[in-house]
C-alpha cells in the first residue's frame, strides 16, 4: 500500500517531465514537421525571391526589366519568308505567372481578319510549350493566341511587374499585323523576332510599330515596310499574295491612278478608297 502511494506521485512527475520534454523539443519534435510544414526560402533570383526582397524593404511592388535575346532579323524579306503573317484584331489579354518556368507571360487573344502568308512552324527542341491561360480558352474559329514575356502578377502579396524595354503594349479592339512562328495544332503563335514583329494597323491601312523608335537604330521590320511597301497594308498584301488579274481593270490603269493619288485599291470590286488625309489634312500633321 505504501509502495502504491509513492508510485503515484513518481508516475505523475514522470508524465509531467515527459510532457515538458516533448514541449521543450519544440521544432525538433518530428511530428511538428507534419503539422507545420517547414517553409523553404525561395531560390535566389527567382520571381518569388524578388517579391520577398521587396517585402523585406517594405515595398509593395517590384519592376523587373526582361531582355530576351530574340532571333535576329537581317531584313524584312527574311521575316516575310520565315514567319506567317496575320492581320488580326486583339480581343483580350491575360497575364500569368508560370512557377515551373519562373516566368511571367502575357497572352494575347486575336481574331483573324486575314492571313497573308502561311509558313512552316519551327518547333524549339529544348522548349516546353507553355499552357495558355484557361480564361482565354476555348478558342472559337478564326481565333488564335500569341504569347509574349512580361506583364504584372501578384506573388505573395507583392506586385511583380515584368516589362520589355521600349514595348508600348497592344490595345484590345485594335488590329495588328503579326509575323508569327505559328503552331497550327494549338493555334498559338510566337513573336520569335520579339515585339517588333507586331505592328498596329491604323484605320488608314498603314502600320505603326509597338516598340519605341530609337535614335541611330532603325527597326528593320517597320522601316522595311515603309521603304518596300509604302507602309501600306494593301501593298504588302498584294506583294505577299498577288491577286489574279482583275477582269474590270485588265491593264491596271485604274489601280495605277488610284495608288498614285494616295488611294487604296480594292481589286475585287474595282473600287478606290482615297486617303482621308487628303480630305482632312489636319488629322495627318
Amino acid at each position: 500500500m505504501k509502495a502504491r502511494s509513492t508510485f503515484i506521485p513518481i508516475a505523475i512527475i514522470l508524465v509531467a517531465v515527459a510532457v515538458l520534454g516533448v514541449l521543450g523539443l519544440g521544432g525538433h519534435w518530428p511530428f511538428n514537421a507534419r503539422r507545420r510544414p517547414q517553409e523553404t526560402s525561395p531560390r535566389t533570383g527567382s520571381l518569388r525571391w524578388y517579391a520577398a526582397q521587396a517585402k523585406q524593404q517594405g515595398q509593395t511592388h517590384i519592376t523587373l526589366l526582361i531582355q530576351p535575346h530574340f532571333t535576329g532579323v537581317s531584313d524584312l524579306n527574311s521575316v516575310t519568308t520565315d514567319y506567317s503573317a496575320f492581320v488580326g484584331e486583339l480581343l483580350t489579354t491575360s497575364t500569368r505567372w508560370d512557377e515551373s518556368s519562373d516566368s511571367i507571360s502575357t497572352w494575347y487573344k486575336f481574331r483573324t481578319n486575314e492571313r497573308l502568308t502561311q509558313r512552316t512552324y519551327s518547333a524549339c527542341s529544348y522548349c516546353t510549350p507553355p499552357s495558355p491561360p484557361s480564361d482565354l480558352l476555348p478558342l472559337q474559329t478564326g481565333e488564335f493566341l500569341v504569347s509574349l514575356p512580361g506583364g504584372s502578377v501578384a506573388i505573395d502579396d507583392i506586385v511583380v511587374q515584368s516589362v520589355l524595354p521600349d514595348f508600348t503594349e497592344m490595345i484590345p479592339g485594335q488590329n495588328y499585323l503579326l509575323f508569327l512562328n505559328f503552331d497550327e495544332s494549338n493555334k498559338v503563335g510566337y513573336l520569335s523576332v520579339g515585339p517588333s514583329g507586331a505592328l498596329l494597323v491604323t484605320s488608314q491601312g498603314t502600320f505603326a510599330p509597338v516598340i519605341s523608335a530609337r535614335e541611330g537604330d532603325p527597326d528593320v521590320i517597320s522601316s522595311g515596310l515603309v521603304t518596300q511597301y509604302n507602309n501600306s497594308l494593301s501593298q504588302l498584301r498584294a506583294a505577299l499574295n498577288p491577286p489574279p488579274p482583275s477582269t474590270c481593270d485588265p491593264d491596271g490603269s485604274q489601280q495605277q491612278y488610284c495608288t498614285t493619288h494616295s488611294g487604296i485599291w480594292y481589286a475585287e470590286d474595282c473600287y478606290c478608297e482615297y486617303d482621308p488625309c487628303i480630305k482632312k489634312p489636319w488629322l495627318c500633321d
Binding site: P68, T71, V73, T95, C124, S147, S162, S192
Partner: protein
C-alpha cells in the same frame, strides 16, 4: 617614385581605353537604359585600376560540377582559381579588356554579394528567345529604387553544349544588358548588342570583342543615364480577368469632332422684314438659324 609610376600606368591605361572607346562616334546605338540603377560594386579592382568590382556567379542550377564550356566561356583568361589557366574566349575577359566603369570577376561565394547570376532554366518557353536577362529597375512612374540590384542571366537547357565561343558571345551580350545596354534592332553591326541573324540559338554569335560603341553606351549609362535613349515602358496591370490601367494619362487622346451645319428657313411673305425673295415672286424664305449635328468623332 611609386606614385609617379602609378600615375603613368593609370594614364597609359586611360589613354588606351580612350583611344578604343572613341574610335567610333557614338550616335545612340546601342541604346542605354534610363531607369536601370548603376551597380555599386565592391570597391576598386586594384590600386591602379579604379573600376568597380562586379561579382558574377554561376549558380547551383548547373549542378555540382559546372560545365567546363560555361565556366571557361564566363571567365577564361581572367584572374582567379580555374579562370587564369583556362583558355579561349570569355565574356568577362571581353568586358574587362575595355574601359568601362566595371571590372567583372567570377565569385562563386553565395553570400549575397553576387551582382550578376548565371542560371539555367530547366523549363524554357519558346517566347523567351535564346537567352534572357532580368534586371530590377526603378519604378517607371514613381522612380522608386528597386529593393535589390541582382541581375539574372537565364540560359536555356542544353546551352551547356554550345561552343565556348557561342556561350562567351551570348554571355557578353547578356552582361551588356546587366549594365544597361539594350538590344540593337538594325543599326551598329559591330555592337555586342546586335543580336545576330541566326535563328539557331546554338550558333551565330561570333563576336570576340566589345566594340567602342558598346563602351560609350555603357559609360553613358553609368555616368549620365538620364540622357540614355531607352526607357522601360509601363505595362498595364491585369488581375483577375479584369483590365485596369493604373496610368491612364498615357492614353489621354486628342479628339476631333465633325459636325454637319444645316441651315433652316421658313416660308414667308415678301412683304415681311427679312424675307429673301427672288424678283417677281410674292413668297420667299426667311433664315431661322443653323443647327449643328455631330457626325463623327475621331480620337488619336
Amino acid at each position: 617614385m611609386k606614385i609617379i609610376i602609378r600615375v603613368l600606368i593609370f594614364c597609359f591605361v586611360f589613354l588606351c581605353f580612350s583611344s578604343i572607346a572613341y574610335s567610333q562616334t557614338y550616335n545612340g546605338c546601342p541604346s542605354c537604359l534610363v531607369n536601370l540603377p548603376v551597380m555599386a560594386g565592391h570597391g576598386a579592382a586594384s590600386s591602379t585600376d579604379q573600376r568597380r568590382v562586379i561579382n558574377v556567379r554561376i549558380d547551383e542550377t548547373w549542378g555540382t560540377n559546372t560545365p567546363a564550356s560555361l565556366w571557361n566561356a564566363t571567365c577564361a583568361g581572367q584572374p582567379g582559381a580555374g579562370c587564369s589557366n583556362a583558355t579561349g574566349p570569355s565574356a568577362i575577359n571581353m568586358w574587362n579588356s575595355v574601359g568601362t566603369y566595371y571590372f567583372f570577376q567570377l565569385n562563386q561565394v553565395n553570400n549575397g554579394s553576387t551582382d550578376i547570376q548565371i542560371t539555367r532554366d530547366a523549363t524554357w518557353s519558346p517566347d523567351k528567345g535564346c537567352a534572357e536577362t532580368e534586371s530590377p529597375i526603378e519604378d517607371p512612374i514613381s522612380g522608386t529604387s528597386p529593393s535589390t540590384s541582382l541581375r539574372i542571366i537565364h540560359l536555356p537547357p542544353g546551352s551547356e553544349n554550345w561552343s565556348q565561343q557561342q556561350l562567351a558571345c551570348v554571355l557578353a551580350h547578356e552582361i551588356g544588358h546587366g549594365i544597361g545596354l539594350v538590344d540593337v534592332f538594325g543599326g551598329c553591326d559591330s555592337s555586342i548588342m546586335n543580336q545576330g541573324k541566326s535563328k539557331d540559338c546554338s550558333q551565330g554569335c561570333d563576336k570576340t570583342e566589345i566594340s567602342s560603341l558598346d563602351v560609350q553606351a555603357a559609360n553613358k549609362q553609368a555616368g549620365d543615364r538620364a540622357h540614355c535613349g531607352s526607357q522601360a515602358a509601363v505595362s498595364r496591370q491585369n488581375f483577375g480577368g479584369g483590365l485596369s490601367d493604373p496610368y491612364p494619362y498615357r492614353y489621354n487622346p486628342t479628339c476631333y469632332y465633325y459636325y454637319d451645319a444645316v441651315d433652316y428657313y421658313h416660308y414667308c411673305e415678301c412683304a415681311e422684314s427679312g424675307c429673301q425673295c427672288s424678283s417677281g415672286s410674292y413668297r420667299g424664305v426667311m433664315y431661322v438659324g443653323t443647327v449643328y449635328y455631330l457626325t463623327d468623332v475621331i480620337c488619336l
